[in-house]
Point group: C2
Chain length 351, copies 2
C-alpha cells in the first residue's frame, strides 16, 4: 500500500467536456517497441505540383478547373459525405433496433495557400489571419443556410491521418444534426452554464492558468494547453480566454492572437520530432441553429497520433476500442516537453 | 425532394448499445484513393521463431523463460498498463476539473498456440475450443479477485492494429472500474432489461434473424452479423442466441458452436482480401462485481480497419474524431459481401 502519486501510478481521469473517463499509465512509455513504423516522406515538396488537384489552375477529379487563387480557396467536396438534397422521411422507419434518419449537409474543402509546400507553421501570420477570415466567412455562409445547424471546421494533416494530398488544406462538413461528439460537449457546457452562469471553459482555463503545469503557450487572448484529460500523447486544445462562443465574434485583436498561437503551436509540433507533425484538428463552437448559446466557448482540438518518434504512433486499438482510451505518458509531462520546444521552425534553422 | 432510400441517401443510424449515432454515406466508397497504403507482410512465417518472445522455450523481455507449452499459455504482461498494488487515495483530490483516481488492475497475455504461424482461422476447432477454455479460466480466476470488477478479453491482430508480434496472441486487462465503453453498454442493457424483462440483444438478434440482410453466419447457438449501427467497414458482432451473460455459463455445445463460428468468421475475413485480415476484437460480458447482471448478454465485437483492399484502410480521423463516426458503405452491403465469401481458407486452396 502506498499513497497515490499521479505522476507514477496508473489512474483514471475525468473529461468534463464529454463526461467520459480515460486511463493513464505513466510508466508505460518505457516498454520497448517492435511494432509498426510509419513511413514518413522527407522529400522536399515543390511550390507548385502540376499533378496536384488542389494547386491553382489545375483540373480536379470532376473536370473543373481551380482558379489562379492567391490566398485561400474554397470549393465543394467532389465526394461529399452528405448531400444537399432534401429527403422526405416517413417517421414509421423508426424502430427499436433499426433507427435511421436522412441527413442533409454540405462538405467543402479549404485550400490554405496556393503554395503546395507550405503548412500552417511555415506560413506568415498574415496568411494565417486570412485562413481565419475564410473560416469566419464559411461559418457565417453555411450557418445561415436554413437546414444547417452545425458547421464542423477541421484539418487532417499527414498521410497517417488519412490525408491524401500534402497540399495544405482543411475541410468543412456542415449538417442539420449536431454530431455525437458535439452533442456530448453541448450537454456538458449547457449544464455547467445553467448552474454557474459562466462557461465551463472560462473557469477551466483559469484553473489551468493557476496550476500552470499543463500550459504550453499563453498570449493575451488565447491559451494552448494539454487538457488534464487528454487522450493522445501530445493532444492540445487552444481556448480563448474570453467566453466568446464562435469564431465570428472574435475582435480583430483576437483574430490576430489566434493566428499567432496557431503558428506557435504547430511550429512546436514540427520541432518535437523534426518532422511535419501529423494531426487532426478542429474547432468546436456554437451550433448554427439560430439560438443564442451563451454556454458555448470557442476551442480548437489537436489530436496528433505520434508517441515516440516521427515514425512510432500511439495505437488506439483493442483495449481502447472496447474499454476506454488509454495513454502512456502524463499530460503534465507532454506539456512540459512541448513548452520547452523552440518557437522557431526547425526547417528555417537548416536553411 | 425525394423519398428516403437507406441504400443510397446519406443518413444517421442509432446504436442502442452505447446510445450514439453514426453517419452513413452509402455513395462515398466510389471516391478515388490517393492516400496512404499500408504495408503488408506476405512473408511466410516459420512454425518456430528463435527471436520471438512468445514462442515456447524462448526468453522474454524481463528475462523469464517461456515453458515448452503445447496449447495456450498465459503470463502477466511485462509492461502492464495497470498495477496490482493497492493505492491509498485521499478523496480531496476530487476537483471540478482535475478529477483523478488510482486504478488497480492486472494485464495478461494469452498465447493462442505454440505455433508462431497459426492464426485463429488456420487452427483446428479443438484448438480454438482450448482457447475458449483458457478465456473461461482467466475470466473466473481474475473475476474472483476481490478488487477486479471487469475482465476485458481482446485481441489486436496485425501490425496496422498496433500488434508488435505476429505470434498469435490476445490480451486480458482486468481492473477495478467498468471502462467507459462497457459502462455505456451496461447502462443501455440495464434500462432495456428493466423495462422488458428480456435482454436487449435477445430481441435484437431475433429482429436481425427476421430481417436477414445483415446476417453473415448462423449456427444453432450463435449469430455473426454486421450490426445495423456498425462503424468500421466490415465490423461484425458474434452474439449468442440464448441470453447467456458470460462465457463461463456456456454449455459444452455452446462452446463448440462458438469455436466454429469464430473459425468461420475469421476465415471469411482472410478471404475478403486474400490477406491475414487485421482487426481488434473483444468480448463484452457481465462485470465481475459479484452481482447477478441478468441484463448482460454475451457478445464479441470485431473492429477491422480495412476498407478497399489489403492495403487501404478506413481512417477514423478529423470529422470522425470531432464530429461522429462515419462509414462509406452500408452495413447491408458489407454483410452481403462477407456472407458470400467461402468458409474455406484461401491459403488451404493454394497448398
Ligand atoms: O500491449 P501491446 O500489444 O504492446 O500494445 C497494443 O495494445 C494496447 C491495448 O489495446 C494499446 O494500448 C497499445 O497502443 C497497442 O500498441
Ligand atoms: O475527405 P478525405 O480527405 O478524402 O478523407 C479523410 O477525411 C474524412 C473526414 O475526416 C474521413 O472520413 C476519411 O476516412 C479520410 O480519409
Amino acid at each position: 500500500m502506498k499513497n497515490f502519486d499521479i505522476n507514477e501510478d496508473p489512474h483514471r481521469r475525468f473529461n468534463p467536456l464529454i463526461n467520459e473517463w480515460v486511463l493513464v499509465s505513466p510508466h508505460r512509455a518505457k516498454r520497448p517497441w517492435q511494432g509498426q513504423n510509419e513511413t514518413i516522406s522527407t522529400e522536399e515538396l515543390p511550390k507548385y505540383d502540376p499533378t496536384c488537384y488542389l494547386c491553382p489552375g489545375n483540373v480536379r477529379a470532376n473536370g473543373m478547373n481551380n482558379p489562379q487563387y492567391e490566398s485561400s480557396f474554397v470549393f465543394e467536396n467532389d465526394f461529399a459525405a452528405m448531400k444537399q438534397e432534401e429527403i422526405i422521411f416517413e417517421d414509421d422507419i423508426k424502430h427499436t433496433f433499426f433507427k435511421a434518419k436522412p441527413e442533409q449537409g454540405i462538405s467543402r474543402v479549404v485550400c490554405f495557400s496556393p503554395r503546395h509546400d507550405l503548412t500552417l507553421p511555415e506560413m506568415e501570420i498574415a496568411d494565417i489571419e486570412n485562413i481565419i477570415k475564410t473560416w469566419q466567412r464559411e461559418y457565417t455562409d453555411l450557418g445561415n443556410i436554413k437546414y444547417i445547424n452545425h458547421v464542423q471546421i477541421f484539418e487532417n494533416k499527414g498521410s497517417v491521418m488519412g490525408c491524401s494530398n500534402p497540399h495544405p488544406h482543411g475541410q468543412i462538413w456542415a449538417q442539420s444534426s449536431l454530431p455525437t461528439q458535439v452533442e456530448k460537449t453541448q450537454n456538458s457546457l449547457k449544464s455547467y452554464y445553467d448552474k454557474n452562469k459562466k462557461t465551463l471553459l472560462e473557469d477551466y482555463v483559469q484553473a489551468e492558468l493557476n496550476a500552470g503545469e499543463r500550459i504550453v503557450i499563453e498570449n493575451d487572448h488565447f491559451v494552448a494547453l494539454v487538457p488534464f484529460w487528454a487522450i493522445w500523447p501530445y493532444e492540445t486544445m487552444i481556448v480563448s480566454k474570453r467566453a466568446v462562443n464562435k469564431i465570428t465574434n472574435f475582435t480583430a485583436e483576437e483574430s490576430s492572437a489566434f493566428a499567432k498561437i496557431l503558428k506557435q503551436l504547430t511550429t512546436k509540433y514540427d520541432n518535437l520530432f523534426n518532422t511535419s507533425f501529423p494531426y487532426s484538428s478542429g474547432i468546436h463552437q456554437s451550433p448554427t441553429d439560430g439560438l443564442d448559446h451563451p454556454e458555448w466557448h470557442f476551442h480548437m482540438h489537436f489530436y496528433p497520433p505520434l508517441l515516440r518518434s516521427a515514425t512510432v504512433k500511439k495505437f488506439m486499438v483493442g483495449y481502447e476500442m472496447l474499454g476506454e482510451s488509454q495513454r502512456d505518458i502524463t499530460p503534465e509531462k507532454s506539456a512540459e516537453i512541448l513548452r520547452q520546444l523552440s518557437d522557431v521552425h526547425y526547417k528555417s534553422l537548416v536553411k
